[in-house]
C-alpha cells in the first residue's frame, strides 16, 4: 500500500502543477453546464412564413390574418410574386411560403372548394413537417369557421356527435420545461468528456516525454500503476460531478428527486468504467495526438448514440443494441431516472450491474495492456 501512496502523491502533484489543466477540468465544464442547456432546445416555434396573395380579397386577407395571429407563424413577407417569395426561402429568411391563387374567394363561395399551394424548405425535415402540420390545422380551423358562419346565417344547426374527451397530464415535469431533460444529460456528457480525454492523455504523455522508463524500472506492479493513475482522476471526476450538481441546483433549480447517495454510487462506478476506458486507450497509443484522436473517435460515437441527442428507442434494432453496449447510454438513463423521477435502487439495479461489468472489463484490459517491457 505504501507504493500506491507514493504514486498517488506524484500524480496529484502533476495535476496541481499545471494550472491550465486544472482550469480545463473545473472551469470549462462549469461554464459549459451553465450556458449550454439554455442553447439546447429542440422546440420549434416561430416558423417564418411568406405569403403571396394573388387574390387580394376579403377571405384571403382574413386567412392571412388568421395565420399571422395563430402564434405559430411569423409573417416575414407579403410579396407580390412567387419568385419574390421563393427568394425569401432561398435566403433562409422564410421557412415556408403560402400561395393564394387568383379567384380564391370566388371559387370558395361558388364551388365550395379551393386549392392552396404551400411550399416548405424541406432541408430541415422536422421544421417543415411541423410547419406543414400547424398550417393544415390553421386551415382546417378556418374552414370550419367559414362553415359555421355560413350555416348560422342560413339557420342550419351543427350536429352534435359523441365525443371522446382527452385529458392529459405530464408527470415529473408538468410544464414540459426543456431544462429538466437537458441539464442532467449535459452534466453526464461533460463528465464523460473530461474523464475520457484526460485519462487518455495521461499514460501516453509519460511515454512520449520518456518518464515512463523511470516507472518501468521500479518494482511498482502493473495494477498499482493503473490504480495510481485511476484514483486521482476518480476524485477529480467526483468533484466535477458535485460541482455539476450544485450548478444544476443553483442555476436551474433542479434538485435530485431520488436519493443522492444512490446517485453517487452510480457516478462512482461509472467513473471507474470511464477512466478505465481512457487508460486503456492511453496504454494502447504511441503519442498524445493519437490517444486524443482515438478517444475523440469513441467519445463522439458514444455521445451520439447515448440518447442525448435523439431517443434510443427510435433507433433501428442494430443501433439500439450497439447503444446499449456503451456505458454512457446507461449512465445518462440512470441520472435522468434518479434526478428527474426519483427512481430507487430497486428500479435501477440492472443498470448498476451493466456499469460494474463495464468497469471491471475495461480496467482489466487496461492493466493487461500496460507492458513494462516494450
Amino acid at each position: 500500500m505504501r507504493v500506491l501512496g507514493f504514486i498517488l502523491q506524484k500524480e496529484f502533484r502533476q495535476i496541481f502543477r499545471d494550472k491550465t489543466i486544472l482550469a480545463m477540468m473545473f472551469v470549462v465544464p462549469t461554464v459549459q453546464l451553465v450556458i449550454l442547456p439554455l442553447a439546447a432546445n429542440f422546440e420549434v416555434k416561430n416558423i417564418n412564413i411568406s405569403v403571396v396573395d394573388y387574390d387580394r380579397s376579403t377571405y384571403s386577407q382574413r386567412l392571412i390574418y388568421k395565420i399571422a395571429s395563430s402564434g405559430y407563424f411569423r409573417l416575414v413577407g407579403n410579396t407580390v410574386s412567387y419568385n419574390d417569395a421563393l427568394e425569401l426561402i432561398e435566403k433562409n429568411e422564410a421557412d415556408m411560403m403560402l400561395e393564394i391563387p387568383h379567384g380564391f374567394e370566388r371559387n370558395l363561395v361558388r364551388e365550395g372548394s379551393q386549392q392552396l399551394n404551400i411550399s416548405a424548405d424541406a432541408i430541415n425535415g422536422t421544421k417543415s413537417s411541423i410547419g406543414g402540420g400547424y398550417l393544415t390545422a390553421v386551415l382546417a380551423d378556418f374552414n370550419s369557421s367559414l362553415d359555421v358562419n355560413i350555416k348560422s346565417a342560413n339557420g342550419g344547426n351543427i350536429m352534435q356527435s359523441p365525443r371522446i374527451e382527452i385529458t392529459y397530464s405530464d408527470w415529473f415535469n408538468p410544464r414540459r420545461e426543456y431544462k429538466y431533460y437537458m441539464v442532467p444529460g449535459i452534466l453526464v456528457l461533460l463528465l464523460t468528456l473530461i474523464g475520457g480525454f484526460i485519462t487518455a492523455l495521461n499514460i501516453v504523455r509519460e511515454k512520449e516525454i520518456g518518464t515512463i522508463e523511470q516507472i518501468n524500472v521500479t518494482p511498482i506492479k502493473k495494477w498499482q500503476f493503473i490504480l495510481g493513475k485511476l484514483i486521482p482522476f476518480w476524485i477529480v471526476g467526483i468533484i466535477v460531478f458535485t460541482v455539476g450538481l450544485i450548478v444544476m441546483y443553483l442555476v436551474y433549480g433542479i434538485f435530485p428527486e431520488g436519493s443522492i447517495p444512490l446517485l453517487y454510487l452510480f457516478a462512482a462506478v461509472y467513473l471507474v468504467a470511464l477512466l478505465g476506458f481512457g487508460l486503456l486507450i492511453s496504454t494502447f497509443s504511441n503519442s498524445q495526438l493519437q490517444a486524443m484522436f482515438v478517444a475523440f473517435f469513441f467519445m463522439m460515437i458514444f455521445m451520439l448514440m447515448s440518447g442525448f441527442f435523439t431517443s434510443v428507442d427510435s433507433m433501428p434494432d442494430w443501433a439500439r443494441k450497439f447503444s446499449n453496449l456503451t456505458p454512457v447510454t446507461h449512465f445518462i438513463a440512470v441520472v435522468r431516472l434518479i434526478v428527474l423521477k426519483g427512481s430507487g435502487f430497486r428500479q435501477v439495479k440492472t443498470e448498476l450491474l451493466y456499469l460494474s461489468g463495464f468497469a471491471l472489463l475495461l480496467n482489466s484490459c487496461a492493466i493487461l495492456n500496460y507492458r513494462k517491457t516494450s
Binding site: 416561430n46 433562409n92 404551400i118 392529459y168 408527470w171 426543456y178 451520439l304
Partner: protein, 368 residues
C-alpha cells in the same frame, strides 16, 4: 523559397508516420455518415406505452388495437392499478400511459362525452408533446369512425410541396452539419498540436535556427493537413451521394472553394491555439473538449439558433462553422449561386485572415 518544399515534406513524413491517427482521421467521417444516415433521426418511434384499461369493453379494446398496430408505439404489459404506472415510469420502461375510465362505453353512449386520460413522462418534453399528438390522432380517428363528421361545405385543400428535398430524406439536413463539425474539430485539433509538439519534444530549436521565415514555417505546418482535409471532404461527399442519396445541386467548384476557405479558417484557429499553449495536452483539451459541445450546439444543425436567447445568437456569430453550414446548405442542397452567400464567404475569409495574423503575431521566435 527552395527550403519550403523540403519543410512541407518533413511535415508530411510526420503525418504519414502515424498510421493510427490517419485511420481515425478517415474513419471518423465514415462512421459519422453511417450513424447520421442510418441510426440517428429526430423521428420518435417505438414509444413504450402501458394501458390501464378499467373498462375492458369493445370501444376501449378497439382503441388499444389501433395503438398496437401503429408503428409509433410499443405496447408493454398492461398495468392493473393506477399506482403501478408510477413504478413503470421510474423503471424507465415506458414514456406514456393511457387510462380508460370504468364505464367508457356507457359514458360515450349516454352522455356522449367520455374521458380518456393520457399520462406522459414530462421529463422528456419533446417525446411528451409528440406522444400526445400521436395518441390524439389515433383516438380522433376512432371517433370519426364511430360517427363520421359531416363534410364541411367549404373546403380549402392545402397542397404541400417539399422544396429542395422532395423525398424527405432525413440525411439531407445532417450532412452539411456533419461536414462542418468534422472539419471544425479535426482540423483545429490536428494543427493545434503541430507547433506545441515541437516545443514539447525540443525540436523547436532546430526549426527556429533554420533560415526559413516564421510565416513559411507555419505554412509548411498547415499544408499537409489542408491536403488531408480535402481528401477527407471528397470521401464525405462521395459517401453522401452514393450511400445516402443526397443530391448535390450546386456548382462543385464553388463547393470546393468554400470548403477550402473553411478548412483554412479552422487550421488557422488550430495554429493560434498551438502558438499560445505550452503543452500538447492543453492544446488538445482546448481544441477538442473545449470546442466540441459549443460547435455541436452553435452550428445550427441540431438546435435551431433562432430559438436561442439573444446572447447565444450573438455567440454563434463568432463560430466559423455556423457560416460554413449556411453556405454549404445554400450551395449544395439548394443549388444557389455565389450571389446568395457572398456575405458569409466574406465573414469566413475575414476570420481566416484575422486568426492567421494573430497566430503569426504569437509565434515566438525565441525559446525561453
Amino acid at each position: 523559397m527552395k527550403q519550403l518544399p523540403a519543410f512541407i515534406r518533413k511535415e508530411f513524413y510526420h503525418v504519414f508516420r502515424d498510421k493510427r491517427t490517419l485511420l481515425i482521421l478517415f474513419g471518423l467521417p465514415v462512421v459519422q455518415i453511417i450513424l447520421f444516415g442510418y441510426a440517428l433521426s429526430n423521428e420518435v418511434k417505438n414509444i413504450g406505452i402501458t394501458i390501464l384499461d378499467n373498462a375492458h369493453d369493445n370501444n376501449s379494446e378497439q382503441i388499444i388495437n389501433r395503438i398496437k398496430t401503429s408503428s409509433y408505439f410499443l405496447v408493454k404489459d398492461p398495468v392493473l392499478k393506477y399506482s403501478d404506472i408510477e413504478e413503470k415510469f421510474k423503471e424507465g420502461s415506458i414514456k406514456c400511459a393511457l387510462v380508460f375510465p370504468p364505464d367508457f362505453t356507457g359514458e360515450l353512449g349516454h352522455s356522449g362525452n367520455a374521458q380518456i386520460q393520457i399520462i406522459t413522462d414530462g421529463s422528456d418534453p419533446n417525446t411528451a408533446t409528440i406522444v400526445v399528438n400521436y395518441l390524439t390522432a389515433i383516438i380522433s380517428g376512432y371517433q370519426q369512425q364511430l360517427k363520421p363528421a359531416p363534410r364541411l361545405s367549404y373546403q380549402i385543400i392545402p397542397q404541400i410541396r417539399q422544396l429542395y428535398n422532395e423525398e424527405q430524406n432525413g440525411s439531407v439536413n445532417f450532412i452539411p452539419g456533419v461536414i462542418a463539425l468534422i472539419f471544425m474539430i479535426v482540423c483545429t485539433a490536428l494543427t493545434s498540436v503541430s507547433v506545441v509538439r515541437e516545443k514539447e519534444l525540443g525540436t523547436m530549436e532546430i526549426l527556429l535556427v533554420s533560415p526559413l521565415k516564421p510565416i513559411l514555417v507555419l505554412i509548411a505546418k498547415v499544408v499537409p493537413y489542408l491536403v488531408l482535409s480535402i481528401v477527407n471532404f471528397i470521401i464525405i461527399l462521395t459517401l453522401s451521394v452514393y450511400l445516402l442519396d443526397v443530391q448535390i445541386k450546386g456548382n462543385l467548384v464553388l463547393i470546393f472553394a468554400e470548403s477550402i476557405l473553411f478548412i483554412i479558417t479552422c487550421l488557422s484557429l488550430g495554429l493560434l491555439i498551438s502558438n499560445v499553449t505550452n503543452s500538447q495536452q492543453t492544446a488538445m483539451l482546448i481544441s477538442m473538449m473545449g470546442m466540441m459541445l459549443p460547435t455541436i450546439l452553435f452550428t445550427g444543425f441540431m438546435f435551431p439558433i433562432e430559438n436561442m436567447p439573444w446572447i447565444f445568437r450573438a455567440i454563434s456569430h463568432v463560430i466559423p462553422s455556423r457560416y460554413y453550414f449556411i453556405i454549404i446548405k445554400a450551395v449544395m442542397l439548394k443549388g444557389l449561386g455565389f450571389r446568395y452567400i457572398w456575405q458569409e464567404t466574406l465573414i469566413l475569409a475575414g476570420m481566416a485572415i484575422f486568426l492567421l495574423t494573430i497566430a503569426l503575431k504569437n509565434f515566438k521566435i525565441r525559446l525561453s
